[in-house]
Symmetry: D2
Subunit: 137 residues, 4 copies
């Protein structure tokens, strides 16, 4: 059972913008990277080849405290906040050493994908729900 | 005085992911595109060459209702929600025809940038504050 | 019959990097944007919903002469250089007013996509080959 | 003296497109990631804070042999092909296990950056030229 993941990363050149800092849109990608690494840690893939279910994002937010710059080493600590019947909620804390960089939230929903039809929400399959758990308080 | 902007856009191929829909990180970029277009409409640039002030993002969020797909034509309606002494708040509504796709919020802060020093928040200069106004309710 | 497309574009903030110029990886995306616009001009989509054929990129190159900066208005002139049985070759010229910014080439191949199988090259279907033609010299 | 770097990487979700494979524009970024890692291995940064010199890209190309997919583990082997007075040329080979995925080339130039002036090419400083060398044949 996995409930948290700490992703260690370095800022890449193409993630910076003309203000000399990481463009804010990248933080949402960093948070998702940590989510997918958490799933791998649980022995799962968020998007296996040929999968008929998927986990589209329902909501995502970030508050930004300090900028990240080129080659900065940082950590994304992702924790599972809630597992409901059809959704999972995470929170994320991005830090560079002792410095708090940003805090975020992410909610994803489980959906069935059938070619040519709209996605329909569905219950999270048991083999996933038994491998990921809410981070103990 | 400008208080709102309607950005019309088409989904580009590289904005889609393996789920066949626009990756959620792009919505934050779409919202920023609309912001910069609003500034141009007001006769301003958010980042003129050699500028000593900047507008880093303080917070940004999106709720996602429906996916966008390749070549979809959509609109981002950006409205100015609040202009405080040192920050501006926007809200965004992304639609495809009559369909609501996503709703977002964005808060930016005015900062002074001096090479080699941390960014420091400052009051929004008068020549900007007189060209952008809160959208009437 | 379409043989050329002129894409007009403005540099977006998130396309710049910490050097204050457009990151070079974006030029390959600009070239592809022009390609897809050329296809639309021909009444086609490069990737219709449910398509069983696709056009993966086989080769792409750029020589860079001058940088592009935030809010620069530029043009990508894409021309069809060769249509062979299974491949199409384009060349691209990126300009800002009278200034030459970059020149590129792109080769794409027609492939059949069957779920769970590797992509296999195939002849370009007649309804495509009759709508796109080589740019007259 | 460093002359080659092997970057190990996993494909991230946001690097895929609706065709289910890595979008070709990412290979140019992978190649650059390997270049910057090579510089760090040599005890250098390609873009130190406050630097007055830079290394804009002059040319870059890729030939694509096989696609990469989500979570594929791959390697970019970057080798230094030529160090001239003002330019450096690299070649790159992207592989997934024993499978050749793509081969690329990259040429960068050394320039002096003065705020408000165009970039001017200059000789590569000695402290860089003494740490990076051409890969022996």
């Amino acid at each position: 059972m996995v409930s948290e993941y700490r992703l260690k990363r370095r800022v890449l050149f193409y993630e910076t913008d003309m203000a000399g800092i990481v463009h804010f849109s990248w933080f949402y990608r960093y948070m998702e990277e940590a989510e997918h690494a958490l799933w791998r840690e649980a022995g799962l893939s968020i998007s296996p080849v040929g999968a008929e279910i998927g986990f589209p994002r329902v909501a995502a937010s970030f508050d930004f405290h300090r900028p990240l710059r080129f080659e900065d080493e940082f950590e994304v600590r992702l924790t599972v906040v809630e597992i409901a019947a059809k959704t999972i909620r995470y929170s994320a804390h991005v830090t560079r050493g002792e410095t708090s960089i940003a805090t975020g939230t992410l909610t994803v929903a489980c959906v069935r994908k059938i070619a040519g039809e709209p996605m329909r929400s569905m219950e999270i399959p048991a083999d996933i729900a038994t491998r990921v758990e809410v981070t103990p308080a």
